[in-house]
Amino acid sequence: MIIIVNGKETEINDEMTVLALLNLKQIASETVVVELNKEIIPSDTFDNTMLNDGDHLEVLRFVGGG
């Protein structure tokens, strides 16, 4: 299925959780904040939040800024 991750169409397997996607992308889950369809997903629910076709996922982290 196709989901939109950080504005980019991304093909993933069915039955994938947010945590599985982060692991697949080699992103340490404790360093990011995730928004699914404009709702913030608490980090302790990454492993039981399923992704669905057409979902919009935002994965963000802190960077240098003023």
């Binding site: 950080n6 913030i40 994965v59 802190f62 240098g64 800024g65 003023g66």
Partner: protein, 258 residues
Amino acid sequence: MSEDLFELGGHKFNSRLLVGTGKYADDSVIPEVCEASGSQIITVALRRVDLESTTGNVMDFIPKHMQFLPNTSGARTAEEAVRIARLAKAMGCGDWIKIEVISDNKYLLPDGYETAKATEILAKEGFIVLPYVNADLYVARSLVDAGAAAVMPLGAPIGSNRGLQTKEMVRILIDEIALPIVVDAGIGRPSEACEAMEMGADACLVNTAIATANNPILMAKAFGQAVKAGREAYLSGPGAKHCHASASSPLTGFLSED
């Protein structure tokens, strides 16, 4: 003199210099910048993770004792700023937020109206809101009403290193606004930070001037000293200015006198 602490957001700080984390050639210098400057408050931004490459994490370089201040840079409306603020809070790094709402790309001038809207929403949600704004009295008053913890007027456009171009407007804010006034953006030299503090600003936020110096650690130290010097000059009450000379030495008792 009794201890002169900087009160902001219900906390007390020894330092009146806030530092940023943007533009460093190498983030690994940030801990030494924090130490050299004496700063206790540090800003960061929130951005999409680059899924195609593994980049360093700026959080690894922020000393644990620092008060963490995420900004809402990238927001063009109040709604976007609120969204970014909530995301930043969800990271578990506290409830301080620096509001930046900017849709002008050339001068990066903040939108006071949208900033006040975002400030009101986030203050009601319990955020410690520090809004970055033009040095405008009416905007500043709206921020007081909206529940801001401070007002952060620009000295000059972000990253320009042009100094305290808004000096007379900042002076009005210092005079009229009961909240802490933190001069943010544009300060390029320690002397300019010192001047802002001498005028009675409560603090200065400096990023580019330190990050782009040939020696950021030494510049951080210089800014720390300049802010402290300016503050002490303000507290000491500078003498009056005069148009004509006023002798410092007595005008009587010269050797040539009979």
